[in-house]
Symmetry: C2
Subunit: 405 residues, 2 copies
């Protein structure tokens, strides 16, 4: 597998184990990532006001220059769980710190925490405890350890989602590795899902936070499956903390790092709608010519969230009126007479007029490829944006009608 | 059929005929409604910036005290049809006026126009012309004429949608009758679909416009199927124009009229998600305790637009976390600790804590009824709102994947 070629960042250990939280026997559901020394941590979280306990706790602890790691469980979101949920999230960080190998002495407040899975059920803390104990014993820094950690954060994902980049600085070569999970309840207004990026590049906490937010805005904030914003969305970056012996990256190096991080986040983010529950198409929506980038984002988002657009792609149906009309109620300026639409490179609408086109050709171009490209130029200004979503098909509906019962 | 018991308003004539615009042989697709004398007309239209030609034309002609009627075609939306579309919409009003029986002499600019159907195809004007000629010959004021007119505006509707009310004033008894169409591309931000309300109550144009907008805000603006705002949504009220011999309703009578009109519009509006493409449930979402009515509307809308909420209802799944989390990203204040949720009267979540409940009982209550009632009290203030939507099931997806191809 290609993902095995990545170089892991120095100074971090990974583990993923099965604690029996998920119903499927042997499925990994507890992940632990630990830094050998205090590291930099930045986080971007859901803006949902109904927010899970682990998000509240992790948000209060980032950005930071003194984090030792992150503990994650899948199979239960610890969301809408009241006061017990807050206590359980804190207890998870305590257990993570308490069970570390002796040489890695840490405190509860040095840990971040994430949970993902069903909303509204209390965490099974006995299972969580035994899972964290077991994970702490299995920490290591090989590819296998990293991939186990990836498996431990997955829920309805059909495949593992990882990405990696490397940059060079005056201090040598630095590795950036990332993992994420998510296939449903993916909304476009915030860093969606769980994602963890780890790097041995030395970066200050405040800088890391700024760079991570910018990368999220071009990646995880540009994807959707059905637009339902989760209570648990979290994106965390762990980086080497600069010290007297290791200076932080300089501005040029930081620009390289930010570019690599953004690329990595886009690669990770696209894997989520590509794995959308039941999805047969990944839809890439490129908006050009909006007055501003924010306007382009609004138009792209509106198209991405239209069930009528999504079902048309499912059916290989060149029903372009659905795309243009979705752009029209995005709440930002658009003029039909300046607007042009292409699907998979084939022009369908231009300057307010429908074009003659070969419906069969467009239809076949949609059916022939997993990726469908929608290009809308609204002809007003320099604003552009690219978003990614899934089609909507009967499998998605079947899956989500039968999720808990 | 119950709908046959309505009293038609005096002074209006109706017709619906088949002109071959729809592919199904004999399906009615041209409707004509004519007032014997100049009447009051008010209109509420889509706010989509990609707007159909008939909407642009009708909007420019309402409110008015001098309208003679409205001409409607189904099977083609005359949207995204460029300059020819504008000419065709105007030509429809010219044809309606020119073909009236001699005693009803009128001009093109005295007519409103609506179109509904596929986007992006030019109107088949030869068929439209023969349809209007035929409709003008068949005008009448019996129940049959009225129901023919209802049929002429339908597209994917599974059933005809009518409602009626009557009020008494010092001038006697007044009838209010309404028809609407719509099953898909139903978004909640504006008067959705096509709807026509006709009354012999005497009302001034400016007053009619104000009352119609208020009624739309509590009815057609509170429904959704998938939230895709149409290019053609239009709601028009035709009323008797007050004159020297017939005074306008006084303030008390107007209040009665407004209440009856709002009731009628809600009754009509609910029929649309009840007929949502493939829908097996009508979902009624009652929000209480929001700071303002606008906040309550925002919360209701977010829940109504969540595919995850809709598929949970399809599956009879008491997955209440999806409802609460949808409320959390509506962009308005909400505090978990003050929030309470019931489904079909059964309490599931209260004061930030999940309640113990019988999942089987909730599930059965959803499966047993076409109507599912979601009640969310956010415990902050006096704002309330009720919205209606459909579930989301495989039939909707299948239908909309195969619409044009």
């Amino acid at each position: 597998m290609m993902e095995l070629l990545m170089q892991l960042p120095k100074g971090f250990r990974f583990a993923g184990v099965s604690a029996g939280i998920k119903s499927r026997a042997g499925a990994k559901d507890v992940t632990l990532i630990v830094s050998d020394t205090p590291c930099t941590a930045a986080g971007v979280y859901t803006t949902n006001l109904i927010v899970a306990a682990p998000v509240v706790l992790s948000r209060s602890r980032t950005p930071s220059a003194n984090i030792r790691g992150i503990v994650v469980n899948s199979g239960n979101a610890n969301a809408c769980t009241g006061q017990q949920g807050d206590l359980d999230a804190a207890e998870m960080t305590r257990l993570a710190a308490a069970n570390l190998p002796q040489e890695l002495h840490a405190h509860a407040e040095d840990f971040l925490v994430m949970s993902t899975g069903i909303i509204g059920r209390k965490l099974p803390m006995a299972k969580i405890q035994s899972g964290i104990e077991q994970a702490a014993k299995h920490l290591g820094n090989t590819q296998t350890h990293f991939l186990d950690a990836c498996d431990g954060i997955m829920t309805t994902d059909a495949f593992r989602k990882t990405a990696h980049r490397s940059i060079r600085s005056s201090k040598g070569s630095h590795s950036i590795v990332g993992m994420c999970k998510g296939a449903g309840m993916i909304g476009p207004k915030m860093a969606t899902m769980l994602a963890i990026v780890v790097t041995d590049a030395p970066i200050d906490a405040i800088v890391a936070q700024r760079i991570l937010q910018a990368a999220a805005n071009r990646s995880f904030n540009c994807i959707s499956v059905e637009g339902h914003m989760s209570t648990n969305d979290s994106l965390v970056l762990l980086a080497q903390a600069p010290s007297k012996s290791v200076e932080a990256l300089n501005d040029t190096e930081l620009a390289d790092f930010e570019a690599a991080l953004t690329e990595l986040c886009i690669e990770l983010a696209k894997k989520i709608p590509d794995d959308g529950e039941g999805a047969t198409h990944l839809i890439e929506i490129c908006i050009k010519g909006a007055n501003t980038q924010a306007d382009a984002d609004a138009i792209a988002r509106n198209i991405a969230l239209s069930n009528l657009v999504k079902t048309a792609i499912t059916g290989g149906d060149p029903n372009w009126g659905r795309i243009v009309s979705a752009a029209g109620y995005a709440g930002v300026p658009i003029q039909p007479k300046r607007t042009a639409l292409k699907i998979n490179g084939l022009p369908l609408f231009d300057a307010g007029e429908p074009l003659a086109f070969d419906a069969k050709q467009v239809s076949e171009s949609i059916r022939a490829s997993k990726l469908t490209l929608i290009e809308l130029d609204v002809g007003l200004g320099p604003g552009s944006a690219t978003h990614w979503t899934t089609d909507l098909n009967t499998e998605y509906v079947r899956f989500n009608s039968e999720y808990t019962t």
